[in-house]
């Protein structure tokens, strides 16, 4: 890597606000078929900032500040709050959809926050009970599992999983060369320049999203 790009990275790093980061995490979370790493410190910081801004707004109102200024502040709070809520909501919906899969896959389970893990556990109990009461209690003995079709099945073959080979739209942040985008065995590397937009299979670019070199849109 050239020495110049290090400084560029540093500059983008300090000019990137938490609002940008939150927006990015929110977008990635919305577009990715599977659940991504919970941005614990980012969420924490954003919540602190929201609180701080709310206090500022109260102060401004008390001081009889120009209503326009106040409403601008308020709008900013509204936006951040929306992003935060929508981010957490999207994750909740993914947990609801793939709870059994997430729970039995260790590297996915650790991506959840402590509260999310608690939520997932309770959701699983609810769902399991519901499936048992509705279907499984009426099934014959060897067919009562909610994870397996029957006792003969070696693996859990009834757990919904996210479709990792779904296509996603992504944008490169910096140049990425020789990307293996096709797993058909054919040599078909792809050069991506900063700002390029591609529709690719999620599976093939998964590591790049996790390391923050690619953004989903």
């Amino acid at each position: 890597m050239e020495s110049g790009s290090g400084i560029d990275d540093y500059e983008t790093l300090i000019s990137t606000t938490d609002a940008d980061l939150l927006k990015r995490s929110w977008r990635n979370e919305k577009a990715a078929p599977e659940i991504l790493q919970f941005q614990a410190s980012l969420v924490q910081r954003s919540r602190e900032q929201i609180q701080l801004m709310e206090e500022t707004v109260e102060e401004l109102v008390e001081n009889g500040e120009d209503p326009l200024t106040v409403s601008l502040y308020q709008m900013d709070i509204d936006r951040t709050l929306f992003l935060l809520r929508s981010y957490l909501r999207t994750r909740v919906q993914k947990i609801e959809k793939f709870m059994f899969h997430i729970e039995k896959t260790a590297h996915l389970w650790t991506r959840l926050s402590r509260q999310e893990q608690k939520f997932a556990k309770r959701s699983m109990e609810d769902m399991k009970k519901h499936l048992e009461d509705s279907v499984l209690c009426k099934m014959p003995d060897r067919y009562k599992s909610h994870l397996k079709q029957s006792l003969i099945s070696a693996e859990d073959d009834m757990v919904p999983e996210p479709k990792l080979d779904a296509f996603v739209i992504c944008r490169t942040i910096k140049f990425l060369g020789g990307l293996p985008v096709d797993d058909s065995g054919e040599e078909n590397p792809l050069d991506m320049y900063a700002g390029d937009i591609y529709a690719l299979r999620y599976k093939s670019i998964k590591p790049l999203i996790e390391s923050g070199q690619l953004d989903l849109v």
């Binding site: 509204d78 935060l84 769902m127 519901h130 009426k138 014959p140 079709q149």
Partner: protein, 234 residues
């Protein structure tokens, strides 16, 4: 089909016409028998019901059909066990000797597993819709929707809603508000007074009373301030 192969169908009709009446009756009976007895037919009907509705919408829980599929499962396991028992008595191992009974038992096992998959898919997919009801209706479901749920599904809704609430309490943040991005450039409004033809920015629209419209926020805001419109929020 008929129009594309007129000659073929004319021939078929002729064959049917010339057939003795009893043959036609038997064919029909066989067809009915096939339709009602074929393993897995009912379960697939159950799923067809699920996918034919709009996504996110529920139809009434089909207790009747559901029960019939369960009965079919019982029947399958009954047949399956009978065959296995017969094989044990005859001393034929299902590993070495692939005899007809082995495959008979296998067919029953497979049809049972398929029925189970269908039943689970039916319940699970409905449960996913039930999960989402909490966002729109909060704890109290309208009667119209309640009627469509089975008693288990109602229980599940209550349980899952409580789980979601406890998660939000842990977070100390209500996630059920702010469902739409704030300050959307366009908003949904209801016209409260007869306004008539007016310019709406780039186009002219007829604003009649009670009309519900999607307008640019900047355009609508004036009317809202005058009390001639109200913003509709969900």
């Amino acid at each position: 089909m008929r129009r594309r192969f007129p000659q073929f169908y004319a021939h078929v009709d002729k064959v049917f016409d010339e057939m003795p009446v009893w043959v036609v009756t038997v064919v029909k009976e066989l067809k009915d028998y096939w339709n009602s007895k074929m393993y897995g037919r009912k379960a697939s009907q159950l799923l067809k019901e699920l996918v034919s509705g709009d996504s996110g919408q529920l139809t009434g829980f089909n207790n009747d059909l559901f029960k019939q599929v369960i009965e079919e499962c019982d029947e399958s396991v009954h047949h399956c066990q009978a065959l296995l028992r017969k094989m044990q008595e005859e001393g034929t191992s299902n590993q070495t000797n692939k005899n007809p009974d082995h495959y008979g038992a296998l067919v029953h096992h497979l049809s049972l597993v398929r029925n189970k998959r269908c039943l689970m898919a039916y319940v699970y997919n409905r449960a996913e819709v039930v999960q989402n009801l909490g966002w729109t209706f909060k704890a109290k479901l309208p009667d119209a929707i309640k009627m469509k749920l089975s008693s288990e599904e109602q229980k599940y809704f209550t349980n899952h809603y409580a789980t979601l609430q406890s998660y939000m309490k842990d977070l100390d943040l209500d996630l059920a508000v702010d469902m739409l991005p704030p300050k959307d450039p366009y908003i949904k409004v209801r016209v409260l007074e007869e306004i008539g033809y007016v310019s709406l920015g780039d186009q002219v629209g007829n604003l009649t009373m009670h009309a519900i419209l999607f307008l640019k926020r900047t355009v609508a805001e004036d009317y809202i301030l005058q009390g001639k419109m109200e913003e509709l929020t969900n």
